[in-house]
């Protein structure tokens, strides 16, 4: 029997009194205790605090003050600062770091009455596509524990897929929510850049980072987004745009809606079975009344190189604050300032993080800035223009989320280029700042693959609507790994 439940279901059960937050929280904590050693999806489990929060939520529900999320347990990616609890960002640098404050996302979801079960594993500083760069070890894919769940939000994805948490937060800089969602067979949603406050989210690449969710359904993503989205004066890049009723938008008909499928997504690379899964998904959309149309994103090929200039450039600067002076790891045997910096950063960061810092430092340095950083900014502009041109004709863009299903742990670790190419379908969305969602659309070699839906800026409601309508006609998102059926006692 399935041990997974959506938060829509849990919320209803909480409000009609058939369960309590404490009961749910204890159940998920027990599942984590029993099953997570096979997944390594959590870095920190916050049992005591969770139970206290659950009791508070139950009191709130009993008083009739509960909202749609009150009492529902969740897991936060360990990139969100949480006061009183470790926030490691998957790095030795922050192995013992306790943030003195809560991130905006943490604050908002706590205010909604959600109960934090713990902090999930991730690629170090969100730099990676396989969760193998974490200082706390790789996360295993619940569908096949020899395989990666993807990254960087791999812990969040694995935990939700295996039913260790009904929902988890994630962040997506180049695909870090959508790719692991695809590889673990769940729904991953990244809203428009600026839709959710970045305050308290440890920065990787500030112009690309965006918080989102890993859930079982698009409806759950809508429920979460309703609480997470909105202006926050503490983040200057946070949008002032009003937040529509996402859940209400889910039921809109797709009749006559136009879906653009970029031909560049199918230019090679995708295998025949994978391609067929996507064609099947498009057929479902057509049966819902949508019209499929081929479109072109001519500059898409530039997205990976562009991203791997912009993101490292920003990260090389963002990570300068980790110098061993004020917080985090500090090398013990430094005798002078220079040595303190060098040894702290040499030992505190893992190799992928250092590779990106080096790349970023290089592309920003005198004599190379114009050739790399400035060119990349121009390419980014072209990529964004490609998308906006398409959205003059179509309501949504659809395609694959990843080039392949989950790969084996270690398979690409020593080949950064192969690893980077894994983000080829997701990265353009970040460069253009658009909302994107991955929903399960079938299996390739018995492993889940995702359908990616991309909306125009602030088109969250449209993306969630399409995904929900698709999920109402299919059950791929309800397929679960055997691990999810195991009962913890």
């Amino acid at each position: 029997m399935s041990q997974r439940q959506t938060i829509a279901e849990l919320g209803a059960a909480l409000r009609d009194g058939s369960t309590s937050s404490r009961e749910l929280t204890e159940r998920y904590l027990a599942r984590i205790a029993a099953l997570d050693e096979r997944l390594n999806s959590f870095i920190t489990v916050t049992g005591e605090q969770a139970l206290a929060a659950a009791d508070a939520a139950d009191a709130r529900l009993a008083a009739g003050n509960g909202g749609p999320l009150t009492g529902i347990p969740l897991a936060h990616k360990d990139i969100f600062c949480t006061s009183g609890v470790l926030t490691t960002c998957g790095s030795r640098m922050l192995e013992n770091f306790e943030s003195p404050y809560d991130a905006a996302v943490v604050e908002r979801l706590a205010a909604a009455g959600m109960v934090m079960l713990g902090k999930t594993n991730m690629d170090e500083f969100a730099m990676g596509s396989s969760n193998e760069t974490s200082f706390f070890g790789p996360v295993m894919n619940p569908w096949d524990t020899d395989r990666t769940p993807g990254g960087s939000s791999g812990g969040s994805a694995a935990a939700v897929a295996a039913g260790l948490a009904p929902v988890a937060t994630g962040t997506d800089t180049g695909g870090s929510i959508r790719q692991p969602a695809a590889l673990t067979g769940i729904t991953g949603f990244k809203p428009t850049y600026g839709r959710v406050s970045r305050y308290g989210m440890i920065a990787f690449a500030s112009s690309l980072d965006q918080a989102g969710t890993l859930t079982l359904t698009a409806e759950d993503a809508a429920l979460m987004m309703q609480a997470m989205a909105g202006f926050d004066a503490r983040d200057s890049t946070c949008a002032q745009a009003s937040v529509p009723d996402y859940r209400a938008a889910l039921s809109a008909s797709l009749e006559g809606k136009r879906i653009g499928v970029p031909k560049e997504f199918f230019d090679g690379g995708l295998d025949a079975v994978h391609t067929q899964r996507l064609r099947d998904a498009f057929a479902v959309m057509e049966s819902l009344g949508a019209v499929i149309e081929e479109i072109s994103l001519p500059n898409l090929g530039a997205s990976v190189p562009t991203y791997y200039i912009v993101a490292p450039a920003e990260c090389s600067s963002n990570l300068s604050r980790f110098d061993g002076v004020r917080f985090g790891y500090r090398h013990e045997h430094a005798t002078d300032l220079e040595t303190l910096y060098k040894r702290t950063r040499k030992d505190g960061f893992g190799s992928e993080v250092k590779r990106r810092i080096m790349t970023g430092t290089y592309v920003l340095s005198a004599g190379y800035y114009d050739a790399y950083y400035l060119q990349a900014q121009k390419a980014r502009q072209l990529i964004a223009e490609d998308f906006s041109r398409c959205f003059e004709r179509v309501d949504i863009i659809a395609g694959p989320t990843t080039p392949t299903p989950a790969f084996r742990l270690g398979e690409k670790l020593d080949d950064p280029l192969q690893m980077y190419l894994n983000d080829i379908f997701t990265i353009g969305v970040n460069l253009a700042g658009l909302p994107g969602l991955s929903t399960p659309c079938g299996f390739v070699d018995e492993l889940p693959v995702g359908l990616q839906l991309i909306g125009p800026q602030f088109g969250e409601a449209t993306v969630l609507n399409f995904a929900h309508q698709y999920q109402s006609r299919t059950d791929w998102h309800l397929r679960e790994p055997p691990l999810a059926e195991e009962v913890a006692d």
Partner: protein, 478 residues
């Protein structure tokens, strides 16, 4: 060979905002170390900068005051380098697109002629913290109270031709930023600092010589010393057949020398790029209009008006308009006096008042005698209640907190004796007591009259109306 000195200044002025440029922490000076540094100033993981619009408004006000172009869109960039007092590992500054573009300001040279100095640009940036070397054994302390304090960096064109011109320009900027209320200009507290780019070239040569950048110039005197020493050094190097190298030099006021800090080759590559955490600053017409309204009368305009309106000497106008508070004090005083006596008022402000302030080390806004109280005193001079000389004593008593001019005059019975009956008796007594001098006067030595007046004043402890005494004596001795 005659040499020409070429100088450009970079002035860092701390803006008088209450909170920091990107955080809500206080900017007040002198708090215990690290008590005015919030998580943003400390560069904690996950925190983000939020621009303080008051700093933007002040920068715009400065731009308007020097008739500069205000950029409709300016951009904050990150200047990356590692230093313990720079918590984020980068300083947020403006690089390619500063908020204030080209403007100008005029200075008065020693010979009285005016010269216009170009201002290349002025940009907003955050200050770093401070490294504290005292009180730490074999270690350095870090105080981040100053980290994130808003600065306006004002960069001049290389239009200055001597240390004296540089000082005149610096003083003019100093006066201006205080006038328009964007900085307290306090140099001891580091609110107004300066770096100087100095080079020399043979007189008449168009091409600029290689420059050295002088750092750590935190007083007008040091700027002048450092530039003069550096000019001599550069001329010496060239005349000895050497080349000046482009470098940063530190002025050491203890040894009165400049010495090399780092050469061009050793200079940091700051890897500037636009800060993705901040949106471009967009200034629209409304914002400009609001800033313009906050602009007070500027120093040059005030000078002209004072000269015309109050009929004062140039030197007096210079002193009275040197800063806004002095000018305001003066104008309040004159207004209290009903517009007349503007010269008497000027003499008193420049004389007794500034001397007393100087003596007690006070700013004029902290004056122990207000403009209203001083007007009360000057009125008593005007209506002959007391003499100017007695007034100085009354002023001193007022300064010591003994009350209003009238109260002091009353209490000390300082009112001039103008009653002719009483004065006649005194004059008669003086004539009787000094027969020798009286005879001399009658013999035509009229100068002796002063002595006789003095005797009458002495007899009344200065309270006799000197004019009346004078007249009475003349009449009696005629």
């Amino acid at each position: 060979m005659p040499w020409e000195t070429v100088i450009g200044l970079e002035i860092h002025t701390q803006l008088a905002t209450r909170s920091k440029i990107f955080s809500g922490a206080s900017t007040a000076y002198g708090a215990a170390p690290n008590t005015q540094a919030c998580l943003v100033d400390l560069g904690y993981p996950g925190v983000l900068p939020v621009l303080n619009l008051a700093a933007v408004e002040m920068a715009v006000r400065f731009g308007l005051a020097i008739d500069a172009e205000i950029a409709p869109r300016s951009v904050f960039a990150r200047k990356n380098y590692f230093y313990p007092d720079l918590p984020k590992g980068y300083q947020i500054s403006q690089y390619e697109l500063p908020i204030v573009g080209a403007g100008h300001i005029s200075i008065v040279l020693e010979d009285g002629t005016e010269k216009t100095i170009g201002v290349t640009r002025a940009h907003l940036e955050e200050d770093a913290g401070k490294s504290v070397h005292e009180n730490f054994d074999n270690a350095t302390g870090i105080d981040l109270n100053r980290a994130g304090t808003p600065l306006l960096e004002i960069v001049s064109e290389p239009d200055l031709r001597s240390a004296k011109e540089a000082i005149a320009y610096m003083r003019k900027i100093h006066q201006l930023v205080r006038y328009i209320g964007i900085s307290d200009g306090n140099m001891q507290e580091g609110s107004f600092r300066c770096d100087a780019n100095v080079s020399v070239r043979p007189l008449g040569q168009a091409k600029l010589g290689t420059r050295a950048e002088l750092k750590n110039l935190n007083s007008f005197r040091f700027v002048e010393r450092a530039i003069n020493i550096e000019v001599e050094r550069q001329i010496g190097v060239i005349e000895d057949g050497g080349d000046v190298v482009q470098e940063t030099r530190l002025y050491d006021s203890d040894r009165d020398e400049t010495r090399s800090m780092r050469s061009k080759e050793e200079a940091n590559d700051y890897r500037y790029f636009p800060d993705p955490d901040l949106l471009p600053v967009e200034i629209d017409a409304d914002f400009l209009e609001r800033a313009r309204k906050l602009l007070p009368e500027l120093p040059d305009a005030k000078r002209e008006r004072f000269t015309a309106q109050y009929g004062l000497k140039q030197d007096d106008v210079t002193i009275l308009t040197g800063n806004r508070d002095t000018a305001d004090f003066y104008e309040r005083l004159v207004a209290e006096l009903g517009g007349g006596d503007s010269r008497l008022a000027a003499n008193w402000v420049i004389g007794e008042l500034l001397a007393a302030l100087n003596r007690d080390g006070l700013e004029i806004e902290a004056s122990k005698v207000s403009a209203e109280a001083l007007a009360g005193l000057l009125r008593r001079i005007g209506d002959n209640t007391i003499s100017g000389k007695i007034a100085k004593d009354v002023f001193e008593a007022m300064w010591q907190g003994e009350g209003t001019a009238d109260a002091i005059i009353e209490r000390r019975s300082l009112k001039q004796i103008s009653d002719s009956g009483e004065l006649e008796k005194i004059v008669a007594q003086v004539i009787a007591d000094n027969p020798e001098q009286v005879q001399q006067y009658r013999d035509g030595k009229t100068k002796v009259l002063g002595f006789l007046v003095g005797q009458a004043m002495k007899a009344t402890q200065g309270k006799a109306n000197p004019g009346q005494v004078n007249q009475l004596l003349r009449d009696k001795l005629a």
